[in-house]
Amino acid sequence: MGRALKTNCWELKGCGRGPESAEPCPAATDTTSHGTNRGINAGRICWTVPGTLGDGFVQGAFHEKQPLCLSCGFIEQVRREEGEGFRFLKLARGVNDPRSLRATLEQVEALEAIHQQLSSRFDLDRVLAEITEEAKRTTHAQCSLVLLRQPPPSGKGPPQLRGRFTVGGRKADVAIPVDDTSAVGCAALNNTSVNVKDPYSPRRRKPGEPPFSKRFDRACGCRTRSLLAVPIRDAQDQVVGVITAVNSDKGYFSQDDQWFLEHFVVEASLALEKDALLKASASTMTLASIGETVAALSHCIKNIAHTLRGSSYIIKRALQRNRMEDVRSAWELLDRHVELLADLASDVLTQPFGPPGHPDAFVVADLNETVRNAVRLFEGEARARAVELVLRLGRGLRRRRFSKRGVYRAVVNLIINALETVPHSGGQVVVATRKNRAGEAVITVSDNGSGMDERTRQALSAGVLDPGRVKGTGLGLATVRSIVEKHHGRITIQSKPGKGSRFRLYLPTDPEERAGPLP
């Protein structure tokens, strides 16, 4: 016998976005969750649905709105009312039964496998082929393709997206113009994901809905029923390609499919970035320095993969033994580390600053807090190396306009460099902030490490990336420079061999005003 339905979130919160409203909330229309925790649609498991209201704003996916959801009180109410039947995490990625949970775990494992691939050996074509294979498998697509942006062959017209696919056992090349005549071209042109559903349906296209070009179908003799196209971006946020997933059976790709494809794009971006790094070695970067970068990256990835693999194992075993409490605990670990993985990829790519709302955008915030957070990241590491890590925060920096993530990354990079040069015992790294007479925010990172000779200092001051001359990769400082330039600031470097180095970042009052509005 079915149980009576209970209060849904829109009834409790009075948001006016119930199923009958003019603009219903995604939780009110998510029929796949109907009945879960005795709610209408996802009305009693709304925390797992992207696009719900929270704190007066439309929120993102679960991992983004998690703090809000956990403090809302509704989860606790549903948990109390449902008792042992309460379901909390099953829809964390759109999963609503153990079978789907297993499928999701497989998807996470696929991501992990790609990361391992990236951290162990490198062959761009092979990595891209594995990425498309995994993307195809996890999104249940029949075809997945990486198309890379190339200049037009004749030098005229729009750039093209080129790739190679296999149809009927033979290989064929495909070239799609970067313009608005096709969904894939639109994804590259507008730098946004495109999800095309049932393109042959006779219904009229909605305004803003991307067009669908039948040329590709004609070329390979198939009939697309759904298509996902996600742009691949480089470190400057420029589109360097598109990854596609095509299905001729299923009429749509779900939000989960899109989520996973977007994560595979991060892997593809990393692979392309790594390929570019390797090619750049011919000029100023040494292979040894790249090896160090890869090794450091590999270390981070291994730690994250360790937890992903362990939690995935715990969840599988707990499902077999019906230990749902273990599933919940391990899922939280897994969720947190998937996000860490995404953050790591994002950090490696050193994306430039985006529009308002983008994590890299300029905001008014407390600069000291950002610097403090960066320092906190290394407290354990400094203790482990017996290095004294000192933080001195100045006044007048509570309301500054800057890119929080940019400044955070800059300070992180300078601390990494400093920690690499100081002795393991007796080393000291000092991070300080102040506001100077010109109103600039000054961030100083100084160390008592090995320092550098005048020629190296001058080369670094001039922005020459020559890591052969300094310990580490030199990429860190290039990143810092790029971030400071985005703030229209400057860097000064003081250093003496055997005495240490001091890096000062000067960030003007309002970089955005000087730079003009961001695109």
Binding site: K302, H306, L308, G310, S311, R317, S329
Partner: protein, 127 residues
């Protein structure tokens, strides 16, 4: 039969939690420590049958903690599994791979470790 007691040492609370969750349902009793120094104290107070030791930790790293343990005539018989993500290619590091040899641990597992491999190593080392 009494449960075998395993001391798990790691400075990352997530890793401590995860390894405990792998071992406990298999019938092992788990005690934890957050660094090498804490681990040596727990060895005295808890008398574990096996130690799983991370390498990069504050206070006293896994190599040093293991070496100290193995220099003690009373405690050197406790088997140790070292777990680490230290990359083999890093030459100029505080944690070179040959530290494993110097630390005289019985087993060395590289992260990301397969839980099945960890359980197999644990079962093999316990009497």
């Amino acid at each position: 039969m009494a449960q075998a007691k395993i001391l798990v040492v790691d400075d990352d609370p997530d890793d401590l939690k995860m390894i405990s969750m792998i071992l406990e349902p298999e019938g092992y009793q788990v005690v934890t420590a957050e660094n090498g120094r804490d681990a040596l104290e727990k060895v005295e107070s808890e008398d574990p049958d096996l130690i799983i030791l991370d390498v990069m930790m504050p206070e006293l790293d896994g190599f040093a903690a293991c070496a100290k343990l193995k220099s003690s005539p009373e405690r050197k018989g406790i088997p140790v599994i070292l777990l680490t993500a230290v990359a083999k290619r890093i030459q100029d590091t505080k944690y070179p791979l040959d530290g494993v040899l110097r630390a005289e641990a019985e087993e060395y597992l590289e992260k990301p470790t397969k839980p099945e491999d960890l359980l197999e190593a644990v079962a093999r080392m316990l009497p």
